[in-house]
Amino acid sequence: MDSSIAATAASPLSARPTRRWGWGWVALVALGLVLPFVVSPIFVMKVLCFALFASAFNLLLGFAGLLSFGHAAFFGGAAYVCAALSKCVGLTPELAILGGAIFAAGLGAIFGALSIRRAGIYLTMITLALAQLVFFLAVQLPLTGGEDGLQGVPRGKLFGLIDLADDHTMYFFVFAVFCAGFWLIHRTIHSPFGQVLSAIRANAPRAISLGYDVARYKLLAFVLSATIAGVAGAMKALVFQLASLTDVDWHMSGEVVLMTLLGGLGTIFGPAVGAFTIVALQNELADKVGPWVSVIMGVIFVVCVLAFRRGLVGELMALRGSRRETMNERTNRTANAL
């Protein structure tokens, strides 16, 4: 039995190429265009940032099978860099985000190079410890503003032309970046590179014996995941005009794991669905139950691990799959009877 963490996810994605998701994409874009006029654009932007973050994380866990507990470092680190570039250097938003992403990529290369020296549970502990190192640096370095973080970050003018101060204008920029990032992840998963990653996850010794340089593939997956997580964090810093210690804290690393797990590990849309659910829950519950939010998140975690390992999207796909199976059986039975 394949008990690896991503094996519970809906299996061979490659078997059904992009066409299967055609309607999903159309629905997603339509939803994205309408949503900011229905609910608060700030809320939707928050969801999009976390959805991109969780999707980037899922690339690493769901497809390469590497559980990083240090993704807050990429998300928060890029948020700080982007905020500093925008606030102190006065760069335009797209360049500030690019700067954040490059920083996250470098950090991802370091985290990746160190942590893939060990496998499994050790890798997770290493990423967590490295992220804590970044957290302490963020606390102590003078540039990051310590407990206050970087506040009042200007959103600036996109390409020096379009003022992003208006929430709706900002929203469409965030939505465009989200779509680009999401599409990149989707392409990566279905590329030969993504297939090799899945192969490594399923059976690393076999991938090695086939001549793949496993360490290089893992490292590349790490860097890619970190970069996109960095884009998400940098955008979050611009949306909320704030980069703070919350973004680099280990709770943030845990939150992105929870979003991915709840939505569906190793599914394309799962992490986004999970991000939406968690952000909406936190928004709803924050004023009502206060500190119990953490307890509720913990309970969701435990329930997901014990009883719901495929996540929302994974369960849905399994349901569809089993219905198709029973229909096939019925067809077969009819055929046999004839």
Binding site: M1, S3, S4, I5, A7, L67, F69, L114, S115, R117, R118, A119, G120, I121, Y122, T124, M125, I126, L128, A129, L130, Q132, L133, F136, L137, Q140, W250, G254, V257, L261, G290, P291, W292, V293, S294, V295, I296, M297, G298, V299, I300, F301, V302, C304, V305, L306, R309
Partner: protein, 294 residues
């Protein structure tokens, strides 16, 4: 008396403080290693159960008049029982799955435990008075040693030694080690492995609670005390490797000393020095100091 321009009081004082921290690292990483050996689970909630131990002592003192010495026995027992419940009700369902699910489940428990305690006790928590008989200190000539700190190091060393002795030198330990290697075979020999697993988990987290009671009088008893510690302990585990019991103890104490020295030489670096050591070890000895390359 000065050594390299640092007064011997400051030097040995920091070293002692380092040993105290190292004692907690040693006890916690020991528990993690024992649990990992048999259950193949990294217990993220180890720090939270350490925090529970400290709170049992604090609440016992405030509401039941339970003194420190009683707490040293009661807190590990209470937390050990809690551990048994956790293992029986949740963890045992995960043994067939990837190790990572155990980590994720226990991470969920961290959020639950911390959230509950934060609701009732706030972020800052409360302090626990040093027991009457361990107040004051003794002059050792080269330094003045606060009695309580000396006691923590001594107690931790004894507990670590007893754990090592039980695992490496008794028939029970032999069974335990055998079950770690080949659980099915040991089960076939008529030993009730599930009970052994449950007991081990209970004992492992009881160790964490014991450390929590030891720590209560020196650190602020607060809901966050466990989470910050456990991340450092994870780094300790990565540095030492979980292959050897004695290795965990030595690594824990050694890193505590290094941390203490850093506090003296470059205070700003003391929070991160263990992570830096981890990076260096990963670069030159990826399997860890006492680990076997997987």
């Amino acid at each position: 008396m000065d050594i390299f321009g640092i007064s011997s009081q400051a030097l040995f004082g920091q070293l002692l403080l380092g040993l105290v921290n190292g004692s907690f690292y040693a006890i916690l990483s020991l528990g993690l290693a024992v649990i990992f050996g048999l259950l193949n689970i990294i217990n993220f909630s180890h720090g939270t159960l350490y925090m529970f131990g400290a709170f049992v002592a604090l609440l016992g003192l405030n509401h039941l008049g339970m003194n420190y010495w009683v707490a040293l026995v009661v807190a590990p027992a209470v937390v050990g029982l809690l551990g048994v419940v956790i293992e029986r009700s949740m963890l045992k369902r995960l043994y067939q799955l990837d190790h990572l699910y155990g980590l994720l489940l226990t991470f969920g428990l961290v959020l639950i435990g911390e959230g509950i305690f934060r609701y009732f006790f706030g972020v800052s928590g409360a302090s626990y008075a040093v027991p009457e008989s361990l107040r004051g200190g003794v002059d050792l000539g080269f330094m003045f040693m606060p009695l309580y700190r000396g006691w923590v190091v001594a107690a931790a060393l004894v507990v670590c030694f007893v754990t090592w002795w039980v695992i490496e030198r008794t028939p029970l330990g032999a069974t335990l080690r055998a079950a770690t290697e080949k659980p099915l075979l040991v089960q076939a020999l008529g030993i009730n492995v599930p009970v052994l697993v449950t007991t081990t988990f209970g004992a492992g987290v009881a160790l964490a609670a014991f450390a929590g009671v030891l720590a209560a009088p020196i650190v602020q008893v607060s809901p966050g005390m466990g989470a910050n510690l456990i991340i450092v302990v994870f780094a300790v585990v990565v540095i030492g490797g979980m292959g050897s019991i004695a290795g965990s103890i030595v690594t824990g104490l050694g890193l505590g000393l290094i941390e203490g020295l850093t506090k003296l030489v470059y205070p700003a670096g003391s929070a991160v020095v263990i992570f830096v050591v981890m990076i260096i070890v990963l670069l030159f000895r990826p399997a860890g100091l006492f680990g076997k390359q997987a």
